[in-house]
């Protein structure tokens, strides 16, 4: 915001104060991953790199963490791509095309968000089975896509709203179809929105556990979340140091994606334009 107050450091102080708990929490987990025992955030055990051994070796029957990382990248990337594609098309139509029921459709999209994803799991199972998509990555990606789509449509609609109509008109009169305009003009122009959505979806898919775990039964697609969860089964014996290390490893790529994508995320504006 322009006009930084002179006392901005006071604001900073205040913010820093309420941010301390978060910092402390993550400090705990960082320390915990390098020390055998932590009281509060004071390491009282020995310093060790043992907890990070998963970087170099396979733990138990798990695949290499790098395989899990790659799978997660593919999964999150795939979901992200699909969400962006489907949402962009629908959002373009809602924002830019004239057809009866536009408002109704936008409302419907918000209503969809009210469907509790996990509670519909069993029902989704039946649907996937009927479609022959149960036990396949495609099915999981599709279900995941459906969860993120409402957000995507709302987000991108705002972006499409802001494209000048004249650009669209200019393309129309020189002979472009709406589909062509969508691909060659509209999509490039809302690129910040696409990135924002992609980053956001990616971050959500990054953390997803239940879907890939439940809907793929034969063989196993190890994602990082399954990898992490597999260290935390309810067997009273989670190796917390290891879990902390894996947890940190797990969050790092997401942080990187956020850092790269932050400027896009900070451009996702939900005001929409009126007029």
């Amino acid at each position: 915001m322009p006009l930084r107050p002179r006392a901005w450091w006071l604001v900073l102080l205040l913010l820093a104060a309420i941010t301390v708990p978060i910092v402390v929490g993550y400090l705990w987990i960082v320390i915990g991953s390098f020390n055998t025992r932590v009281h509060g955030i004071t390491p009282v055990g020995e310093w060790t790199l043992e907890n990070w051994r998963f970087l170099g070796e396979r733990l138990g029957r798990r695949p290499s963490i790098w395989t899990a990382l790659l799978n997660t990248l593919l999964f999150a990337g795939g979901v992200s791509l699909l969400v962006v594609t489907v949402s962009a098309m629908a959002a373009y139509a809602i924002s830019r095309l004239s057809f009866p029921g536009r408002g109704w459709f936008l409302g419907l999209v918000l209503v969809l968000h009210a469907f509790p994803a996990v509670s519909l799991l069993i029902a989704s199972y039946y649907v996937l089975r009927v479609m022959g998509l149960f036990d396949s990555l495609v099915g999981v990606v599709l279900v995941m896509t459906s969860f993120m789509m409402p957000f995507g449509i709302w987000l991108l609609k705002g972006f499409f709203d802001n494209i000048s109509w004249e650009m669209e008109m200019a393309a129309l009169v020189v002979g472009a179809s709406r589909w062509r305009i969508f691909r060659t003009i509209a999509l490039p122009l809302v690129r910040p929105g696409l990135f924002a959505l992609a980053v956001f979806t990616f971050l959500v898919a990054w953390g997803e556990f239940i879907l890939p775990y439940t809907f793929i039964v034969s063989g196993r697609t190890w994602t990082l979340s399954i990898y992490l969860q597999s260290m935390l089964g309810d067997f009273e014996r989670a190796d917390y140091g290891l879990v902390a290390a894996v947890g940190l490893f797990y969050v790092l790529p997401a942080v990187a994606v956020f850092l790269v994508g932050q400027r896009y995320l900070l451009d996702m504006y939900f005001g929409g334009s009126k007029g």
Binding site: S95, V111, P116, S119, T145, M149, W179, F182, G271
Partner: protein, 317 residues
């Protein structure tokens, strides 16, 4: 200058019918993928859920469930816990939502007042809870709130109790609130950045302090984003239970922090032995779907989201 030439209806007729067909073809093309996804993964599962809720489907009866009518709904209604769970849900959704929105706003505004680098850094810190795996996030909470000497809070405040158990509600709301705040923070920050610089300049010249500018110009201009976040988060919260499950598991005691979606999840998915009551869980999910739909319809009306739709300036597709 009028030509006075009669119109040729035949030409007009044929032209306009062709146009009408083409007119809907394009929107249909664009909306088909979304429609397919919606039909397959929202409408169909919702219908299936309603259907399942009328059966006694469970792990045991999965191959041949029997139709039980409204028995599952009667079961829910007759439960002594229903009012408590409803109350919990309302409490959880409203308090967490309030925390999310207020905190999101506070973060967005305050980080916007800082130099970009510092603001970005702080925003990343606040986003961490959202991008951390829930189990790790809850692990952190449990660790910090554990009884002395393990927990920091216990150590600092000399509480020998496990804070999660001693104060389950504040814990649940804070833990969820920190996560939700980041969505508001991102969206509000983006909204603030989209306010023209001139407005800030004008306000300063008009004699406003930064705080006055925030209160009188920035906040009113965030109407849409605030409404969107409120609506979106309400629905998200209604359906969310993961962190409660991991933190308190609905306890301590009888249903102290159990919310509707957690209840439904437990009925439908969690059981110490192999049997789970999908039918009952489906009934609970169906209730949640209805509540969610009603809530979103109310939001759509109250917040007048239809104003966000403007008439397309191009009339052909």
């Amino acid at each position: 200058m009028r030509s006075g030439r009669p119109r040729r209806p035949e030409a007009g007729e044929s032209v306009s019918t062709r146009r009408a067909g083409a007119h809907l073809r394009t929107p249909a093309l664009f909306l088909t993928p979304a429609f397919v996804v919606i039909a397959l993964f929202f409408v169909l599962p919702a219908v299936v859920t309603v259907f399942l809720s009328l059966t006694d489907l469970s792990a045991r009866t999965m191959t041949n469930p029997t139709f039980v009518g409204l028995a599952n709904y009667e079961y829910i209604l007759s439960s002594r816990w229903t009012p408590i769970v409803v109350r919990n849900t309302v409490l959880y959704v409203t308090l967490t939502l309030a925390f999310n929105v207020v905190m999101g706003l506070a973060l967005a505004v305050s980080t916007s007042l800082l130099p970009d680098r510092i603001g970005n850094g702080l925003r990343l810190l606040w986003l961490l809870p959202r991008i951390t795996s829930p189990v790790i996030y809850v692990l952190i909470w449990q660790a910090l709130l554990a009884p002395a000497p393990f927990g920091l809070v216990g150590n600092l405040m000399g509480i020998s109790r496990n804070v999660v158990n001693a104060h389950p509600w504040p814990t649940v709301i804070l833990a969820n609130g920190l996560i939700g705040a980041s969505l508001g923070m991102l969206i509000f920050t983006a909204a603030i950045r989209s306010i023209p610089r001139d407005l800030f300049h004008a306000s300063a010249v008009d004699g406003a302090t930064t705080w006055q500018t925030v209160r009188r110009v920035v906040l009113p201009l965030m109407r849409w984003p605030i409404m969107f976040v409120t609506a979106y988060q309400t629905l998200s919260l209604l359906a969310s239970f993961e962190y409660i499950l991991l933190l308190t598991n609905g306890g301590p005691g009888f249903y102290t922090t159990e919310v509707w979606s957690l209840w439904a999840y437990k009925e439908a998915f969690q059981s110490y032995v192999g049997n789970v009551e999908f039918g009952l869980g489906a009934a609970m999910a169906a209730v949640l779907v209805v509540v969610g739909i009603v809530a979103s319809l109310v939001y759509l009306r109250v917040f007048r989201f239809d104003e966000l739709l403007s008439r397309p300036k191009v009339e052909v597709n």
